[in-house]
């Protein structure tokens, strides 16, 4: 039995905004009977361009019905620009979380919303999926849908992609293709630490001091403070940088050593390879 939250069960048993709208401004349809879940979402805008009314119909399991219901509550009163910002993760969070294997229900909600907005803007029914874009033949999942799920949810593995999009969950014939997409998206992702070209030119003493100060402020201190630690610059003598360190456990030898190494590594990366970090005199190195 699934571990559904009370909120999810409430939206399943008492779904909000079920039904159809007369003359809707936008309609989005995703999924199909064959795939086991499907959602039709429609909205009407008010004079200010806000979503005045929204209705849905869903075929699917409890989490699909609840995700649809949640989505309608979330977008009411929003402009299309605001509504567009809603991610599948937001829908899942609104419900207090979804089981991993059910994340595709939240993705379906978000896709229906985007399709409905698209339909409103273009004034035409959403384009049929072109066969060549489809990666997973079993569930008719396109490359774009897979890429979007990977990017927005930081997916790492094929199994995760299957949980979020269903792709790969049928015959399994496309798992290599999904892996290839994962690799591509990952390669295109900006490196976690945007590579700032470390200035390797000769620095004047003043420039060096300024750069060390900046690096400590920008790169080191926030990281330490997050864990309750801190660092203070005491002195700079040539390539010798003296700092006062406070770890989460200020008297632990290990943490002091690790901290020192961390500070040194960052300063060497951003300022100069030749820097040596030392702790201020009088500070206890050993407990």
């Amino acid at each position: 039995m699934w571990n559904y939250t009370d909120k999810l069960m409430d939206h399943f048993k008492n779904p909000r905004n079920v039904g159809v709208l007369e003359e809707p401004d936008g309609v989005g349809e995703v999924g199909s009977l064959a795939c086991g879940d499907a959602l039709r979402l429609m909205f009407k805008l008010d004079a200010e361009g806000r979503i005045a009314d929204v209705k849905f119909q869903t075929f699917g399991c409890a989490s699909a019905i609840a995700s649809s219901s949640a989505l309608t509550e979330m977008i009411k009163g929003k402009t299309l620009e605001e509504a567009q910002q809603i991610t599948n993760r937001d829908i899942a969070e609104f419900l207090g979380g979804l089981p991993d294997q059910k994340m595709h229900c939240s993705v379906m909600g978000r896709d229906a919303l985007l399709a409905a907005i698209d339909n409103y803007r273009k004034g035409t029914p959403p384009d049929e999926k072109v066969d060549s874009d489809i990666v997973c033949q079993c569930f008719g999942v396109t490359r774009l849908e897979i890429e979007r799920a990977i990017e927005e949810n930081n997916l790492e593995t094929v199994a995760e992609v299957t949980n979020y999009t269903k792709a790969g969950g049928g015959c399994g014939g496309c798992v290599d293709d999904i892996q290839a997409i994962l690799d591509e998206v990952k390669a295109a992702r900006p490196a976690p630490e945007p590579e700032k070209t470390p200035p390797r030119r000769r620095l004047t003493t003043l420039q060096k001091i300024k750069l060390i100060e900046e690096t400590i402020e920008r790169e080191i201190r926030p990281a330490l403070q997050k864990d309750g630690g801190d660092v203070e610059l005491i002195d700079i003598e040539g390539n010798r940088v003296v700092v006062s360190l406070r770890g989460t456990c200020s008297t632990c030898l290990v943490s002091q050593v690790t901290l020192k190494k961390l500070v040194e590594a960052k300063l060497r990366e951003f300022v100069s390879d030749e820097l040596r970090v030392e702790q201020a005199d009088g500070e206890e190195e050993v407990a």
Partner: protein, 395 residues
């Protein structure tokens, strides 16, 4: 009201079975292999259980090997028989609707040097006997066909299949986990070599079962170690479980004829009640076990139905993709070619001798409302059928 209609998944331990087992958690804790009275007493009860199981099947006690359940029995039968075979035959025949304990085992063997034929079924779940007969070749080593299907309850003609295969010197296994206790089984009439049963499907506890091995049929143990179970299955016996299985087998043999008529009448009442009160409903499978009703409701999804049934205290199961945690509907319904409009909305009600007429009427009373409510939410009811058809979903 709590109504348990999921007896093909597992059953309640019968009070008589529980009572029979209890002393073996207390006073009678000896190891049946031991050379003292603690062991000897217990050993006699294991022997008795073996006789009771043999009697249910029309077998001899020395043809019964106790196991840890249906999955182990299936694995031991299939792998054990193939490993012991000296003929060099490399072909296995099974069906497309087996329980994973057989299906996955056979597919694993296919990946390890055997050829595998999976015989299809038709829209009503009936096995294609022509295809089966064609598939029997001089290279065929083993035929494994279930006696009754766990999802639909469809019963296969095991006696006929066994005769065809035996005439060609082929070893025959049948997974009778769902049939045992629900259908009369007489292994003096039905010439299968190997037959699996599982305790928890016939009111004995989980984690105990038995494999029937006809005298003269060779199998290689899959659990090596001590000499228990005639050297075919090592490990100190699960004495309480075995005693429980024995008592459950005895109860089943005593009550089957009478209880099955009653269960069948209740099942038919449920079936008629649902078909009459719910539009767009259809029964899956023909020639079924007396206790099983697999019924599909158009345009709605099984997991949602189950959760709404749970709200009114009714326990059942579904072949829908969502309810299983997989993304595809049941392989059994797909093998039968049940259309998607129906496959995702399938519900399996499986009864036992403990169900009552009031319970059945409770389901008949609540089901139409559940179907109506979910159809009100569904986008496919009324006017949207065109959309339902244009997808690329191929599963």
């Amino acid at each position: 009201m709590n109504v348990y209609l999921d007896n093909n998944a597992t059953t309640m331990v019968a009070p008589e079975v529980f009572a029979a087992m209890q002393p073996f958690f207390g006073e009678f804790y000896g190891n049946p292999s031991s050379m003292h009275r603690f062991g000897g007493q217990v050993g006699r009860h294991v022997d008795r259980a073996r006789q009771q199981v043999a009697d249910l099947l029309g077998a001899e006690p020395d043809e019964i090997i106790f196991t840890a359940g249906g999955s182990e029995g299936d694995n031991l039968a299939i792998k054990g028989a193939l490993e012991a075979m000296k003929s060099g035959r490399r072909h296995i025949i099974t069906t497309r609707v087996e329980h994973p304990a057989v299906r996955v085992t056979c597919r694993w063997l296919r990946d390890h040097g055997f050829r595998l034929t999976e015989i299809p079924v038709d829209r009503e779940g009936t096995l294609d006997m022509e295809r089966l007969e064609e598939a029997l070749t001089p290279d065929t080593a083993l035929v494994s066909v279930m006696w009754a299907n766990n999802e639909t309850g469809v019963v296969f003609p095991i006696e006929h299949i066994a005769r065809l295969a035996k005439a060609r010197g082929i070893v025959v296994h049948t997974d009778a986990v769902q049939a045992a206790g629900k259908l009369p089984i007489d292994l003096k009439q039905v010439p299968v070599d190997l037959l699996t049963i599982s305790g928890h499907k016939l009111h004995a506890p989980k984690g105990v079962g038995a494999l029937y091995v006809r005298r003269g049929t060779r199998i290689t143990p899959q659990i090596h170690g001590g000499h228990q179970e005639g050297g075919k299955r090592a490990g100190t016996e699960n004495v309480p479980g075995i005693v429980g299985l024995g008592r459950a087998a005895e109860l089943a043999a005593e009550t089957m004829a009478e209880e099955n008529d009653r269960v069948r009448a209740l099942r038919d009442r449920l079936e008629q009640g649902l078909l009459q009160n719910c539009a767009g409903a259809q029964v899956n499978g023909r020639n079924r076990l007396p206790n099983t009703l697999n019924i599909s409701f158009e345009f709605i999804e099984g997991e949602s139905i189950l959760l709404m049934l749970d709200e009114v205290g009714v326990a059942a199961s579904s072949g829908s993709a969502c309810s299983s945690g997989s993304l595809e509907p049941s392989h059994v319904l797909r093998a039968m070619g049940v259309p998607f409009t129906l496959a995702h909305g399938s519900v399996r009600f499986s009864l036992s001798r403990y169900n009552t007429e009031q319970e059945i009427d409770h389901v008949i009373e609540h089901m139409p409302g559940i179907v109506t409510r979910l159809r009100e939410i569904s986008p496919f009811v009324g006017g949207a059928a065109a959309w339902a058809g244009k997808s690329t979903c191929n599963v």
